[in-house]
């Protein structure tokens, strides 16, 4: 019994203590339940969002950039597959080691490596960075196999811009290039953050960037903790960029490019009725695909240090003295103001004296008595010295401006230079000295202060050919299927008879023996070209050079030789196309520029791109190739 008593003590003590322990356990469990309630009920929404963020990854899908096609649907800028590798810095502990490993498969230049390491610091860890792109399929496949050993690297297939015609269109279509820090400033479009994204840097690509870019889509995917995609939850494919149809005819563009290959030259062909540009060539060009891929330093130096200036679009930004091609303006100014008449003869003795200065005709001994038409045909300087003297610089300036000189004329192209049409006011304002009559004489033959661009010359020529309609050049026919309305054409109010006189002179230049471009008449039945040659003096032969035996312009170093110019239009009877050709430092207009114009105009008139059905927007199911025009025009296609 004694044992029982003692155990009763123990039991009493134990029961009390056990109750305390049990109570403690229960209250601690209550704490757990409270915590669960807090997390799962009170803060639940916040954690639900976090769980969704964990699980769902939104990927931006870059839209397909709109294609650029010529008036017949020929692709001038399209897209092709681009195999590339991107790096997601936060998925690797050691960027350098990862790059080292990749380098065993793909060479990585020091420059690329530096760029990546810089971007790793600048951007957030989950932003993918392009490491290598435009990879060969074999290399890409190899990287795909090695992915498990390349932490942070992801092989991707993207789209990249492709310019099938390369340098033929470099200046017109332009190019795309990687996004720079400048592009990112102030712009929130998340597309710009995508690796490998490209923006238009020049030409149409730049001008119509927002239309071509399209709207980004996105893909919501479920990912696991390692970032592996489990399934796609939702997808918005986005909207591809608009297709841009240009007024150009790639056939003519390509031919013209080929014709002036090796020269520093420009060619502009335009429709004199609508103002549509058929071809616009600045030579030499460059390969726009290189800018997309990224130029090496050597390639860049090769472009910038080239004395032929391949990066400059000379058709818009090249400013040249018009030389004798300016004589039509002087003639029209004189006719309109009544300073001369059609019948008026002026005797050319080979030179004109003004004070102590002598102004020479290009023909020693002179042309004798010449009329306006003959003066244009033979490009007599003395006739125009005299005419210019009578009409005065003010009227010449006014007529120049009516023909689109001295100011930007293009409707939808950027980077155009205005050229220069001098005036009394301008001279006094810039030099403080009054206008001299000798300067009027110089201007009368397109020398001195006057400067024009090849595009302006084509416009001038078009306005002469179309009977004084103030046509302006344009390049973009439609964007995303929406036709661009052609610019309104305002009649210039010039007496048609005066224009006919000038046209007769230009016809004689090419088609009458003795004309300065008679050798460049067209080899076509029933179709001919009218035109005017021009030679723009770059530098006189100095006395010392003459002493050393340099007597001909072609003996000078290339960059001091004269520019060769030609403006024209065709067909003569029913003008449709105007052309301007400038061969930089090519020598004489009749020998260097007119033959180029002849070949190109021959092609243009034989093909007559404006007479063909242009590319219309594809109807669903329609094959584009069926829309490529045939010479026999629309409606005559065979059935089936």
């Amino acid at each position: 019994m004694a044992l029982d008593d003692r155990d009763a003590d123990k039991q009493k003590a134990f029961t009390r203590r056990a109750a305390i322990i049990g109570g403690g356990q229960l209250s601690l469990f209550a704490v757990l339940a409270g915590r669960m309630y807090y997390l799962q009920v009170i803060e639940s929404q916040e954690y639900e969002i976090l769980a969704e963020e964990n699980r769902v990854n939104v990927r931006l899908l870059p839209p397909l950039r709109g294609e650029i096609v010529d008036r017949f649907g020929e692709k001038l800028a399209s897209n092709r597959q681009n195999f590339r590798v991107v790096l997601i810095p936060e998925q690797t502990d050691d960027v350098t080691a990862t790059l080292d490993k990749l380098e065993e498969i793909v060479p990585i230049t020091e420059r690329t490596r530096k760029r990546i390491l810089r971007e790793v610091k600048q951007k957030r860890g989950f932003v993918p960075l392009t490491v290598a792109e435009n990879l060969e399929w074999e290399t890409f496949a190899e990287i795909n196999i090695q992915t498990p050993d390349l932490p942070g690297l992801q092989p991707e297939v993207g789209d990249t811009r492709h310019y099938p015609y390369g340098e033929d269109l470099a200046h017109v279509v332009g190019y795309v290039a990687a996004v720079t820090d400048k592009d990112l400033k102030g712009r929130r479009d998340p597309l710009l953050q995508l690796p490998g994204f490209r923006v238009g840097r020049s030409g149409v690509e730049r001008m119509l960037e927002s239309e071509l870019r399209g709207r980004a889509g996105n893909s919501r995917v479920e990912v696991n903790a390692f970032g592996r995609v489990i399934r796609e939850l939702a997808k918005d494919p986005g909207t591809p960029g608009d297709e841009v149809v240009l007024t150009l005819d790639m056939d003519i563009q390509g031919y013209a490019t080929e014709r002036v290959r090796g020269e520093s030259a420009s060619v502009v062909v335009m429709d004199v009725i609508t103002g549509e540009l058929v071809a616009i060539v600045s030579a030499p060009g460059f390969d726009p695909n290189l800018f997309n891929i990224g130029l090496s330093q050597a390639e860049w130096d090769g472009l910038t240090n080239n004395e032929l200036n391949p990066l400059v679009n000379k058709t818009l930004a090249g400013q040249y003295p018009p030389g004798s091609t300016y004589k039509m303006i002087v003639a029209l100014a004189a006719l309109e103001s009544g300073a001369i008449t059609a019948e008026r003869l002026i005797t050319c003795t080979g030179k004109v004296k003004l004070g102590s200065h002598e102004f020479h005709c290009w023909k020693r001994g002179g042309h004798g008595p010449v009329s306006l038409v003959q003066a244009i045909k033979q490009s007599c300087n003395v006739f125009f010295y005299e005419t210019g003297k009578r009409v005065g610089i003010d009227k010449i300036e006014e007529m120049s401006r009516r023909f689109g000189l001295g100011d930007e004329v293009a409707i939808d192209m950027a980077g155009e230079k205005p050229g220069m049409v001098p005036s009394r006011g301008w001279k006094r304002a810039t030099t403080g000295i009054a206008w001299q009559q000798g300067e009027t004489l110089n201007a009368s033959i397109g020398q001195g202060y006057v400067l024009v661009t090849p595009l302006q010359l084509a416009v001038m020529s078009a306005r002469i050919a179309n009977g004084g309609q103030g046509v302006r050049p344009w390049l973009v026919r439609s964007v995303g299927g929406r036709q661009r309305t052609p610019p309104q054409i305002v009649p210039m109010g010039i007496n048609p008879r005066h224009l006919q006189l000038v046209q007769a002179g230009m016809n004689a230049v090419v088609n009458v023996p003795g004309g300065t471009a008679f050798r460049s008449r067209l080899p076509l039945e029933g179709k001919s070209m009218a035109g005017k040659t021009g030679t723009a003096l770059v530098r006189r032969i100095t006395r010392e050079e003459r002493a050393r035996g340099v007597t001909k312009n072609s003996d000078l170093p290339w960059k001091y030789r004269d520019h060769a110019l030609f403006v024209g239009y065709g067909p003569v009877e029913n003008p449709r196309y105007s052309i301007s050709v400038i061969v930089d430092h090519g020598g004489g207009g009749s020998s260097a520029a007119a033959p180029v114009a002849k070949d190109i105009m021959t092609r243009v008139l034989a093909r007559d791109p404006m007479g063909m059905a242009a590319y219309e927007q594809k109807a669903p199911g329609n094959d584009v190739s069926q829309l490529v025009p045939r010479a026999d025009g629309p409606g005559k296609g065979e059935q089936g």
């Binding site: 123990k10 056990a18 639940s44 954690y47 639900e48 976090l50």
Partner: protein, 381 residues
């Protein structure tokens, strides 16, 4: 009638013993384990392989041990208490010399067939040894310093060895279980207050002895964002999983955090989070309710025992079990630092399952033989 017969004869036949087993308790254990099977099935994306099936086999083995232990007379356990403690202590020492190292700590000993974790064994043998000690000690001596010292030594020896492995979590568990036995034996409150004060004072000292990885855990616990992809990742992702589970959960096998692997260790230490993500607050509370019922039953068994050995043994086992549950759940909910403690009967893992069920075997032994008295002097001999 039966009980009277037992108290008279002092002996029960095997059939009697089987009859005396509390089958409700067995059902409760099985229910908790079944929750584990279901979660392991879900963790493997709807497959019994590789976890659920193996866990079932281990559970069956553990149940066999439970039944065998339940049949053994507490008097035998009383006899075995000290030798078993001594054996476990020897194994802990052996780990020092011949242990297998894993994850930076030496905790296992390779016995050829199985990997044994002596510290797990010690959790039971320490309870046995202390229960026996206080069983024999006269009640008025419990608070005498001279008789307190052996009890503290029983605790200190294995704790010191476990700390050397190093395994802070187990050392703490052992200490708390040991101290709780002393507490339930009736130690004077004076000591308890003094010990509490001393423990608080010792925190800076303990801090000095902590390994860097252990300190890091404490830091990360205090501020999980300081290492969102490293140590804090577990805590953060576990909280997201729990919170997003909301009241009713995302549905069985529908937990995004668990199935997309954001949740680490989902089949072992973090299995409670997976349950709470898929079955919500309701599922979590239900499991806690099952545990509470189980602990309540254990305390009833302890109070109903007619000898101090049984009372203290069962209560200590209950405390041990409670600590497992509490530490695990508090850890996954971000209430305490991350320590490697499994959720008993639910987490995947053989060693813990066997030890827990063996402990319940002892509990059941006390229950089955609850009519017996046990003389202070000893058992059968």
């Amino acid at each position: 009638m039966v009980l009277e017969a037992i108290s008279r004869s002092g002996r029960l036949s095997l059939v009697d013993k089987l009859y005396e087993i509390n089958w409700g308790f067995i059902l409760l254990i099985t229910a908790i384990a079944a929750v584990g099977f279901a979660m392991l099935y879900s963790a493997a994306d709807g497959s019994f392989d590789p976890w659920a099936s193996r866990q079932m086999v281990r559970f069956a083995m553990g149940m066999a041990i439970l039944f065998v232990f339940a049949m053994i007379d507490p008097r035998i356990w009383l006899q075995l208490a000290y030798p078993a403690y001594g054996f476990a202590l020897l194994l802990l020492i052996a780990v020092e010399f011949a242990g297998t190292t894993g994850m930076g700590a030496t905790r296992w000993i390779n016995l050829g067939v199985i990997q044994l974790q002596p510290s797990e064994l010690m959790k039971i043998t320490l309870a046995l040894a202390l229960a026996r000690y206080y069983h024999t000690l006269e009640q008025d001596r419990v608070s005498h310093p001279l008789f307190l010292l052996p009890a503290l030594a029983f605790i200190a020896l294995p704790v010191a060895l476990v700390l050397r492995q190093p395994d802070l979590g187990t050392a703490l568990l052992l200490s708390v279980v040991g101290v709780s036995i002393i507490f339930m034996a009736g130690l004077s409150w004076r000591y308890i207050v003094a010990a509490g004060a001393a423990a608080l004072a010792a925190i800076p000292v303990v801090w000095e002895f902590l390994h860097p990885y252990q300190r890091e855990r404490v830091f990360t616990f205090l501020d999980p964002s300081r290492d969102p992809l490293g140590a804090g990742y577990h805590t953060t992702q576990a909280k997201i999983a729990l919170g997003s589970g909301s009241v009713w959960g995302k549905g069985f096998m529908e937990g995004t955090q668990s199935h997309l692997n954001f949740l680490p260790e989902k089949q072992t230490d973090f299995i409670f989070v997976m349950l709470a993500e898929e079955l919500g607050l309701m599922g979590g509370i239900a499991l806690l309710a099952l545990y509470t019922t189980l602990l309540g039953f254990a305390l009833m068994v302890a109070v109903g025992a007619r000898h101090q050995f049984g009372r203290l043994l069962v209560a200590a086992l209950a405390v041990n079990f409670f600590l497992y549950v509490f530490i695990n759940v508090a850890m996954v909910m971000g209430l305490i630092p991350v320590v490697g403690v499994p959720l008993p009967l639910v987490s995947y893992g053989g060693s813990a399952m066997l030890v827990i069920l063996a402990g319940f075997g002892l509990l059941m032994s006390v229950y089955v033989h609850r009519g017996q008295e046990l003389p202070r002097g000893g058992g059968l001999l």
